[in-house]
């Protein structure tokens, strides 16, 4: 049983560019959450998707957007990249009935130059 997978593992972009990160949830999980983890910090909640809709959102600007597909996989899009967007982006999945039980993926490390 594959766990949560994320792609790509690493990414380098320049300021102003746009980036798309991808996440496949653990089998049987229909809820996907995204987090940003800056160096030396804990993960910060970006948003959560369920039934292809954004259900919860943290304190992130509209430059951060997402999508969930019918197969429950998800994408995180960040527009107009800033240097401060450099971080590890984590995806976590959970089943509807136990939404507090989140399983994390390995993350995508984004570097903005």
């Amino acid at each position: 049983d594959a766990g949560v997978t994320q792609s790509p593992t690493h990414l380098i972009k320049t300021r102003g560019q746009q980036v798309t990160l991808r996440c496949s949830p653990k089998s049987g999980h229909d809820t996907v959450s995204w987090y940003q983890q800056a160096l030396g910090q804990g993960p910060q909640f970006i948003f959560q998707y369920y039934e292809e809709e954004e259900r919860q959102r943290g304190n992130f600007p509209d430059r951060f957007s997402g999508h969930q597909f019918p197969n429950y996989s998800s994408e995180l899009n960040v527009n107009a990249l800033l240097l401060g967007d450099s971080a590890l982006y984590l995806c976590a999945s959970s089943p509807t009935s136990l939404r507090e039980t989140q399983y994390f993926g390995p993350g995508t490390r984004l570097l903005v130059l």
């Binding site: 766990g3 804990g42 994390f104």
Partner: protein, 113 residues
């Protein structure tokens, strides 16, 4: 705004020493509480969680945590650490019926053999 505080940023212990990592949160309502661990090069993994009931929660690998509601605390303990416990530990909180996780900034534990 809700917040989670982990006051110990870096802890160094010798093997067989006892461990206690502090976690305090700021929210007056009903919460779910978690400890996650990230071993070097690995994903975030759930150590233990508290939803309700007995405030002393036992997790994997001999870890336990005690929820003290009056102190808004959920400290992690282990009677005797091993070198393999070297990792970064994160406390997290969700508000009951919401799925937005709030993480602390993490505590890096270094256990000397």
């Amino acid at each position: 705004a809700q917040s989670v505080s982990q006051h110990n940023h870096h802890v160094i212990l010798s093997e067989a020493a006892s461990l206690e990592l502090g976690c305090n949160y700021s929210y007056g309502g009903t919460v779910n509480l978690f400890w996650y661990v990230q071993y070097p090069g690995q994903h975030l993994q759930l150590l233990l969680k508290y939803f309700s009931g007995d405030p002393l929660v036992k997790g994997i690998k001999g870890f336990e945590a005690e929820f003290i509601k009056s102190k808004f605390s959920f400290n992690l303990r282990k009677p005797s650490v091993q070198w393999s416990d070297t990792a970064e530990y994160f406390c997290a909180v969700t508000l009951r019926n919401f799925n937005k996780f709030y993480f602390g900034s993490g505590t890096k534990l270094n256990v000397k053999p």
